[in-house]
């Protein structure tokens, strides 16, 4: 009886600990969101989305150039990084059992752990310096390089989840190996791959360091890929460091928009998975 009591108390205590850990994990996140909303929501208005930065001394203006810039740079990153990442993941899952697969997987894991500022310096050395100027293109490539190892590894995991029996069924029907991989295996894993990609894109959308050396930032609205371009994290960085109250308010608003953007991408990823499940 005594032992029983102890067992139950111990069980409750451990359960309580896991709850406490969960609350501790959520707390900072909630605090960040709350602070962003308190400090930033007030500065978000129509002008914030449609106007670019105004000269010092004038009030008003907005982040339109930075929002469009982020959309362009992230699109470039997707164009560069996703095909390579997904292709690598499919290779690793379908044909990566040998030595090559081992090396590629290892390199991808190492790349995953490389600080993003190092990627930025790399892109500066190989793209910005030879071209002679900062550019959105270089920024897109830098973010794309971060996308490659993440999407490669998540794609591999998703493709591996497809039962081998499906692969065999396709081969037994007379599918060549590549066709079984693409039309049956990858198609079956498509939902998971898409989710993985969206999560990765959400992550790079908030990267600042690699863009400092590549896209640089721009006070003006620009869609020229070969020139410097503004991006939300860069603009937030510059405005937050600046000495003006007005800038600080706009930086808070920019940070809030960035979080909302990331949140939107994550929600889309979840919706995709749910839609996929319901159809199945």
């Amino acid at each position: 009886m005594h032992g029983n009591l102890f067992r139950r108390a111990f069980g409750s205590a451990m359960t309580g600990l896991t709850y406490a850990a969960a609350v501790l994990a959520i707390l900072p996140l909630a605090a960040v969101l709350a602070m962003l909303i308190v400090k930033g929501a007030g500065s978000i208005n129509w002008d914030f989305f449609v106007k670019s930065a105004v000269p010092l001394g004038e009030s008003g203006g907005g982040f339109a150039h930075a929002i469009v810039g982020t959309l362009i740079v992230v699109s470039l990153a997707c164009a560069v990084g996703l095909p390579i990442g997904i292709g690598t993941g499919v290779f690793l899952a379908e044909f990566g059992s040998g030595r090559t697969g081992f090396v590629v997987r290892f390199v991808a894991d190492v790349l995953n752990g490389v600080p993003s500022i190092v990627i930025g310096i790399f892109a500066w050395t190989w793209l910005v310096k030879p071209m002679g100027h900062f550019s959105a293109l270089a920024g897109g490539c830098a973010l794309g390089m971060i996308l490659v190892p993440i999407t490669a590894r998540t794609t591999e995991e998703m493709v591996r989840l497809v039962p081998n029996s499906l692969r065999e069924a396709a081969l037994a029907l007379g599918y060549p190996r590549w066709r079984a991989a693409l039309q049956v295996v990858v198609r079956t894993a498509a939902g998971g791959i898409l989710t993985g990609c969206l999560v990765a894109v959400a992550r790079v959308a908030g990267e600042t360091a690699p863009l400092l050396f590549t896209a640089l930032g721009n006070e003006f609205f620009s869609t020229r890929l070969t020139g410097p371009m503004a991006a939300l994290p860069l603009q937030v960085y510059v405005y937050a460091l600046g000495p003006y109250e007005e800038w600080h308010r706009q930086a808070w608003a920019g940070a809030l928009v960035l979080i909302m953007l990331v949140l939107a991408i994550s929600l889309i990823a979840r919706a995709v998975v749910r839609a996929k499940r319901q159809r199945a």
Partner: protein
């Protein structure tokens, strides 16, 4: 319930003289690395017959089956020595494309394997698309004939564009049969096709096997001796990787020649 004459220009089934079996093995040994799964197997299946491969677990009957359409070699380290003759031609000849072999020798697995991203109709047509593109009307015709051939048409004709995952296990397995017969192979290999089904589903498949042999040559691996007795014309008994005895099914079950066979079919081991 017959599959009408080939609209498929796929490799023509040669007019085979009665003396040449549809599919046969000659000294076939299937290896996993340096270990052999089945050793030195020689037997033949005549056209439009059902041959049952029986034997205790691990006796190599599934390995043998997978050697007949070159699926065995897909396992890392697996290889085959000896010959497998389809209409008298060795499918392991270096000049032969294994993909081509698998189009002529279809296979249905132990567990139903419908492609989850495709509709019921697309599943049936999956093997057709590999060969070449069919006009839509022809394609619909082939899908209907294959589903009728698999005794599934009446159950799915109103939901051809639904997901196959909403079908029961037995229906899914018949869908896999339909997918296998749609490209009109010559031989159909069934690897314990009823092992994962409930008795009703299993009975359906057994009836289906009887229908299939009108148009195809069938080889079936089964753990179920009663099933072998019900569906097959010829039974081959495997034990510890060797072909112990092969004989017409009635003879095998009434008067087996080898003592191991008798011990197995009377339930003394396995």
């Amino acid at each position: 319930m017959t599959i009408p004459p080939a609209q498929t220009p796929a490799p023509p089934a040669q007019a085979v003289p009665a003396t040449v079996p549809r599919i046969a093995t000659d000294g076939l040994t299937a290896w996993y690395g340096s270990a052999s799964g089945v050793r030195d197997v020689t037997f033949a299946c005549r056209e439009n017959t059902v041959t049952a491969l029986i034997g205790p677990s691990g006796c190599g009957k599934s390995t043998l089956l997978r050697s007949l359409n070159r699926m065995h070699e897909l396992v890392a380290g697996a290889r085959v020595t000896g010959r497998v003759l389809l209409d008298g031609y060795d499918i392991y000849d270096p000049a032969v494309n294994p993909v081509e072999v698998r189009r002529r020798i279809g296979m249905v697995f132990q567990r139903p394997t419908p492609f989850p991203t495709m509709s019921i109709a697309e599943n049936v047509a999956a093997g057709l698309a590999v060969g070449r593109r069919l006009p839509r009307s022809d394609r619909d015709g082939v899908i209907e004939r294959a589903l009728r051939g698999a005794a599934l048409w009446d159950e799915v004709k109103d939901r051809l564009h639904d997901s196959p995952l909403n079908l029961s296990g037995g229906q899914q397995q018949r869908l896999c049969v339909a997918r296998t017969i749609a490209p009109e192979p010559e031989v159909i290999l069934l690897d314990e096709p009823t092992a994962s089904l409930d008795p009703a589903g299993a009975a359906h498949i057994e009836e289906l096997v009887q229908e299939l042999k009108r148009d195809f040559t069938v080889v079936i691996v089964t753990h179920n001796l009663q099933q072998a007795g019900r569906v097959s014309d010829v039974t081959a008994f495997f034990y510890l990787g060797e072909l112990i005895e092969v004989a017409p099914t009635t003879q095998m079950f009434t008067a087996p020649k080898k003592p191991q066979t008798e011990a197995y079919i009377t339930g003394r081991f396995g």
